[in-house]
Structures are given as C-alpha cells and as structure tokens.
C-alpha cells in the first residue's frame, strides 16, 4: 500500500483531482448498475405478480393458517404469561413459521451438542493406537463424507426408523426408553402434585450450588459446595421433591408419558449427527495432528499416560484451534436441517413451502426464510467468536 501512496503523491494536483473524480464515477457507476439490476428484478417480479392479481405485502402473515403441522410449538398469550402451546390450524401463518423455526432450532441445537461429542470421540479414534479402531473410524468418516446427506436422511427414515417395531410391541430398553414406529420415547420430568414453594426454593438453591461448584475454582471449595448441594437435595426430598420421573408406557397405537421424539425428527437428528460427526472428527484429528509432537513427548517424559496427555494437555489446546472450523460446521448443520422436507419433518423451510402453497406468497416468504437463516448464521458465528475471544484473546494481555 505504501508504494501506492508514494505514487499518489507524485501525481500533480490537477491530475489528482481528476483521478479522484474518475474513481468516484466508477464507484457510482457500479452502484447504479447493481441497484438498477435489483430494482429491475423487483419491478419485473411485481409486474408478474400483479398480472396474477397478487400484491407484494406481508399482510398474509396475520391470517389464520388453516393447516396443521405434525409437531412444533408457538409462543402465544395464555392469561398474563406468554406460554408455548402446540401449533394448531387456528394459529396465524406467522405463528406457523415460528413453529417451523422452533422445530429447526430443536434439531440444530441437539445436533450441535451431540455431533461435537461424537465427532471428538471419532476424531480421537482415528488416532488410536488400536489398528482396528483407527481403520474403522477412518472407513466410517470416509463413507459418510463421500455420500450425500440426503440419502443418509432418507435411509435412516425409510430403512431404519420406519422399520422399528409398532408401538404395542415397542422395544423397551432399560425400562425407560421406548423405540417404536411412532417415535422414540424418553423418560421425562414432571412436576409432582406435592410440590410446595419451599421445596422449589430448596431445589433452586441446590441448582445454584451445583452451578457455583462448576464455575468456581479450587478443589476444597468445590468439594464443600458439592456436599452442600447434596445435603440441600436430601432436605428437598424430605420437604416433598417437586419433580417426578415420568416413564413412558406403551399403548396400543402410541405411547403415553415421558418425552417423545417424532419418527421424522429421530431420523433427521440421527442423520445430521452422524454426518456432522464425521466432519467434526476430521477437524479434531487435523487439529491434534497439527499440534507439535513435542507436546506428546514432553508429557510422556513427565510420566503422564496417553489418556492423561490427551485429556489434560492435548484436548484443551485442540479446543482453541478447532473453534472457527466448528463454527462453520455448526452453520452448515443448521442449514442442513432444511433437508427435513424430504421426509416430511416440519422445519422452517418445509413450513414456508406449505404457507406459500396455501397463500401463493412465495417471494415474501423466501425473504423471511432467507433473513432467518442469515440471522441464525450470524448468531452462531457471533457465539463462537465470543467463546473464541474468551479462549484465545486473553493471551495478548
């Protein structure tokens, strides 16, 4: 850049202003061309819509949706409190889109947590000293990365989840987990009738103590906090524990109780977690291999075992290196939830399709959906950048 400045000062003033003017003209020309293109596009679309008798407006969002979704919650007003309730055809189109967003986020957030865990495991497995584990992880990662995600989703849905036993013969694992064609059921927590304000307060205190135990430093302090939390929990049990375990029970056509995941969500979640884990595994493996070999050797010379080295020395450093790549992966994963449409999962994109089919409002909807995905991407990268700054930024000070 410095050469350009020197060049610039060697130009006589009269020519210099000409140069600046021509630069401004160029800028203006580019802006005018692009803006003109966008305006032409907008006008052409508006004209085409007008020919069909449709006007570009977002008013349709307030209209009653008149269609139902298989799952999805919407915020609405129940009395004085904003509550979440199941989407029903009497809700508005806007609330339908919100329910779709809720479903997308539900899958995306669970997948982010699960794929980070499994991906790290597989990534470590690819560097295992056990030949078989190493090759197996390599084969899995390659097979998953070289095939389309869509065939994986379709396979998990049509060939696995829909082949689960019917609800009345659901396979029951460990007493609490039900896997059936009509969904997967986990044990859930319910608020028991015996709950009193005092027991709620005690539970909150126990929770706060556990949080403090995780957040604060010092082994002694942590042990004291943990003991305090345990004693408060025991006290809560005497005061009437406010939460109860709700085990799912299989019935003729479905299951009752517990925490249910629909077959579509099961398939989509498994597919996305498995797919993203393969990519996360590659990211983690790359980061571990990029660390200097001296780290392993130094910790071995201190008498640390391989697993200790990995847990206490390698992984904390790897965590810092992989953050930006993981952010990219999380963003792609969130975008991938839009493939749920292939198996009928009502995610944001699917609901947008239904809404636009019902109302003929394709273009307004696409603007909303595009902006939502943009916002999601920004939020994810902002979160990861924040963590990144916390983890990496302190070193400069």
């Amino acid at each position: 850049m410095s050469t350009e400045i020197a060049e610039y000062h060697s130009i006589p003033p009269a020519r210099r202003s000409l140069l600046i003017a021509s630069k401004w003209l160029l800028q203006a020309a580019i802006v005018i061309v692009v803006a003109g293109l966008v305006i032409w596009l907008g006008l052409a679309v508006r004209e085409a819509l007008a020919r069909k008798g449709i006007q570009f407006s977002f008013g349709y969002l307030g209209n009653v949706a008149n269609f139902s979704l298989s799952e999805g919650f919407v915020p609405s007003r129940g009395g004085n409190w904003p509550v979440l309730e199941l989407f029903s055809p009497s809700h508005s189109n806007f609330q339908a889109l919100l329910a779709g967003l809720w479903n997308s986020l539900k899958v995306a957030l669970s997948a982010i947590v699960l794929c980070t865990m499994f991906g790290t495991l597989v990534g470590i497995g690819r560097l295992s000293t056990n030949w078989l584990v190493r090759k197996l992880c390599f084969g899995l990662v390659e097979a998953i990365r070289n095939t389309p995600l869509l065939i994986q989703i379709v396979f998990w849905y049509f060939a696995v989840v829909l082949r689960f036993p019917p609800a009345n013969a659901a396979s029951n694992w460990f007493g609490g987990l039900l896997a059936s064609r009509s969904g997967v059921f986990f044990p859930g927590l319910v608020i028991s009738e015996r709950a009193s304000v005092g027991s709620w307060g005690l539970l909150a205190i126990a929770f706060a103590l556990v949080v403090a135990c995780v957040a604060l430093r010092g082994l002694r302090l942590r042990l004291i906090l943990l003991a305090a939390a345990l004693s408060v929990l025991i006290a809560t049990a005497f005061a009437g524990f406010p939460l109860g375990l709700d085990l799912p029970v299989a019935t003729r056509f479905s299951a009752r109780g517990g925490f249910a995941i629909s077959p579509e969500m099961t398939a989509l979640l498994i597919a996305i977690v498995v797919n993203s884990s393969a990519y996360v595994a590659e990211i983690v493996r790359g980061a571990i291999e990029a660390l200097p070999k001296g780290q392993w050797e130094a910790s071995a010379s201190l008498g640390l075992s391989r697993s200790h080295t990995l847990r206490d020395i390698i992984l904390p450093q790897v965590f810092r290196i992989v953050l930006p790549s993981l952010a990219n992966r999380y963003i792609s994963l969130t975008k991938d939830t839009s493939l749920g449409i292939a198996i009928g999962f009502p995610d944001l994109f699917n609901v947008y399709g239904t809404v636009s089919n019902q109302t003929g409002r394709n273009l307004e909807g696409v603007v909303i959906v595009m902006l939502t995905y943009l916002a999601l991407s920004w939020i994810i990268s902002a979160c990861v950048n924040g963590v990144n700054a916390r983890v990496n930024g302190r070193r400069e000070r």
């Binding site: 078989l132 070289n146 493939l339 995905y373």
Partner: protein, 377 residues
C-alpha cells in the same frame, strides 16, 4: 510367518489394557456386522430388483427408442473421465490393469444381470474410458487440448440428449451431467466474485462480499427453489426447463464457495509478484489474467475438484424442483408396490454407487494436491 502375524496382532490390537478392552468390544461387533450383512447380501437379498430397474436408475424415464442418446452420453462421459484421470493421476501400468479388470468385471456382471445388449454397451463404455486414460496418460497431450476436449464433450452431451426434452433426463446420468455443467458454470462467476472481493473499488468489494456471505449463509435447497420459482416470473412468455433453472440455482450458490476458494488462492500469490508486474507497467487486467490468476488457480485446483464432490452430493436436492435424479429414481422404484420390501437392496446399491463416485473424486483431489505440491518444490 505366524509369529510375525501374532506379533503384529499383539502390537496393533492388544498392546495396552485399554486397547485390549477396545478390541474385545470392537472385534465381536464387527464380526457380527460382517456376518449379518454378508448373510443378507449373499442369501436373503433379492438383487434382481436392481437389475430390473437398472435403466430407470441410470437414465430415469428416458424414452426407450431414444435410449441410444443416453448411451452416447454415457460413452462420452466415460471417455471424459478417462481423459481427466490420464491428465491428473499418473498411475503405473499395474494400476491401469487393475482398474481395467475391475471395470470389465462390473460390466460383465451388468451384462449377466440386465441384458446382453446393455451389458455389451457397458463393456464398450468402460473400454473407451480406459483407452482414453491410457491415451492421454501415455502420449502426454497438451493440457489445453484435453480441457477443450472435455468442454466439447459436455456440449456434445447436451446437444445429443436435448431433442427429447430436458424433462425426460433423469437417473445417475442427470446427477453427473448436472454436476459437470454446474462445476464449469461456477468457475468464471466465482473468479469474478473473488476478484471483486479483492478489488480496491469499495462498492464492488462490498457488493461481492455481501453476495458471497448471503449465499454461504442460506441453504442450497432454498436457493434452488427460489430460482426455480422466480425464473417463470421474470420470463413469463418462455418456459425455461426445470433442469436449466435448477442449474442456474446451483451455479449461483456454488459460485460463492468457488469465490472463497479462489480468494484463498489469490492471497497465496506472493505480493512481490504483483509489485514486480506493476513495476513493468502492466495494466491491472494483464496483471490479473497473466500473472496472478494462473498461479492462484493452480493452488486451488484440488479444492475445486473437492468442490465437485459437494456439487455431486448437492445434486440430490433437485427433488425439490421435481427432477428425477439418481436418489429420486431409486425412491420411485421403491414406491412401486411390486418392489415393496426391497428397500435395502436399492439403498445399498445407491449408497455403493455414490460412495464409489464420491471416493473417486476425493481420491483425485488428493492426488492432484500431492502432484501440485511436488511440482512447486
């Protein structure tokens, strides 16, 4: 011999307590999985369903009397792949022989499983591909000749396949042709975007950046669907075939990714090169076209080849605009009540073909990377 094997097993599987525990869990699981899959594949599976629907899987619903067009396209594709392999993968005679044997074996199995006519054509196509590989590999033709040959091949495929209409294109042929066409289409647009993003002109830079960031933040399926619905609105009097609209959507989306790859290549070009060219009073056009871009593109060739895999895997999304690609053709066959209960045969076949093509693309990009790294040393 046996002591060597035992020592290998000990060192690689049972060296430490943790490894032993892992092995004791993994080996029985793996053995059970292999046994279960093998038993199913060899005894229970009904592979005739794949043979019976082979033409639909490969070409979709292409009219039977026009099928020679599809076969011509397949032959051209085989020759193009062969030439591309000859250009990029410097394999020895042994590797060539192995590939040739495998290809002939697959073609022979096809001949038995389907009918002798198509099987013979498959053998011919495989032979053509291997001949092209050997020819380009041995004679060391100029790269430019091969590249223009590849381009001519794509044009020829489009010209020959077009007469019955784009609507009847389908199956694996559609996926592959779409992938190749989109890969070519994204290049110029991606390069322009990358140059725009690097430009000193602020407005150009902002617009390019905004475009790239937007495209990278939204799902491909949304872009494809959006282009598909907006084209008829922009051109109400002409009906643009769904395939071309889909290609436009893919190209607009993947151009943003190509732009990012090219940008990384542009940044890898040493600054001194640009300064030296400036000092020779080169215009910025000549500078970019003759000095910077050739070096930048050389660096990003492996990434661009890897990108082809993304496009190929993304091509399954054309179901959203009603095209019958490879995966959709498989699902169509499964929708036929006659084939109900044959889910696994079809999916295993689809998976194997996707894996073979995807693996080949990954392998090619790795080889290219190694090749270029060796060349620059």
């Amino acid at each position: 011999m046996s002591t060597v094997a035992l020592r290998w097993v000990h060192r690689n599987l049972f060296a430490k307590p943790f490894d032993t525990a892992l092995s004791l869990v993994v080996i029985p699981t793996l053995a059970w999985a292999v046994y279960a899959f093998g038993y199913w594949a060899l005894v229970q599976a009904h592979w005739q369903v794949v043979g019976g629907s082979f033409k639909v899987l490969m070409t979709g619903i292409y009219p039977a009397d026009q099928l020679w067009r599809a076969w011509f396209a397949v032959a051209t594709l085989c020759a193009m792949f062969g030439a591309g392999l000859g250009l990029s993968v410097r394999a020895g005679r042994a590797a060539l022989t192995v590939v040739a044997l495998v290809a002939v074996l697959i073609a022979a199995v096809l001949a038995v499983a389907i009918d002798v006519h198509s099987g013979g054509l498959a053998v011919a196509c495989a032979a053509l591909g291997i001949a092209a590989w050997g020819g380009v590999h041995r004679s060391a033709v100029d790269q430019r000749i091969v590249l223009s040959g590849l381009l001519a091949g794509v044009v020829a495929i489009f010209v020959v396949l077009s007469p019955p209409g784009f609507e009847v294109w389908g199956g694996l042929l559609l996926s592959v042709v779409l992938t190749i066409a989109v890969s070519i289409l994204t290049l110029p647009f991606g390069i322009l975007l990358a140059l725009g993003r690097q430009s000193r002109i602020t407005s150009l830079r902002l617009i390019s950046t905004a475009y790239i960031e937007t495209m990278r933040s939204v799902p491909l399926i949304l872009v494809v669907y959006w282009i598909w619905i907006i084209v008829p609105l922009l051109a109400p009097d002409t009906s643009v075939p769904g395939l071309l609209r889909g290609m436009a959507g893919f190209a607009l989306f993947f151009a943003a990714y190509v732009a990012e790859y090219v940008r990384s290549g542009l940044q890898a070009v040493p600054r001194a090169q640009i300064e030296a060219a400036r000092s020779l009073a080169m215009s910025s056009w000549t500078l970019n076209v003759d000095i910077v871009l050739p070096q930048a593109l050389r660096v990003v060739v492996p990434s661009l080849v890897g990108q082809i895999l993304d496009i190929f895997n993304g091509a399954t999304l054309v179901f959203i605009i009603g095209l019958t690609d490879f995966l959709r053709a498989g699902q169509m066959i499964l929708a036929d009540p006659q084939n109900s209960g044959r889910t696994y045969e079809i999916y295993v076949f689809l998976f194997a073909v996707y894996l073979a093509i995807g693996g080949a693309i990954t392998y090619a990009s790795r080889r290219l990377e190694a090749h270029l790294a060796r060349g620059s040393r």
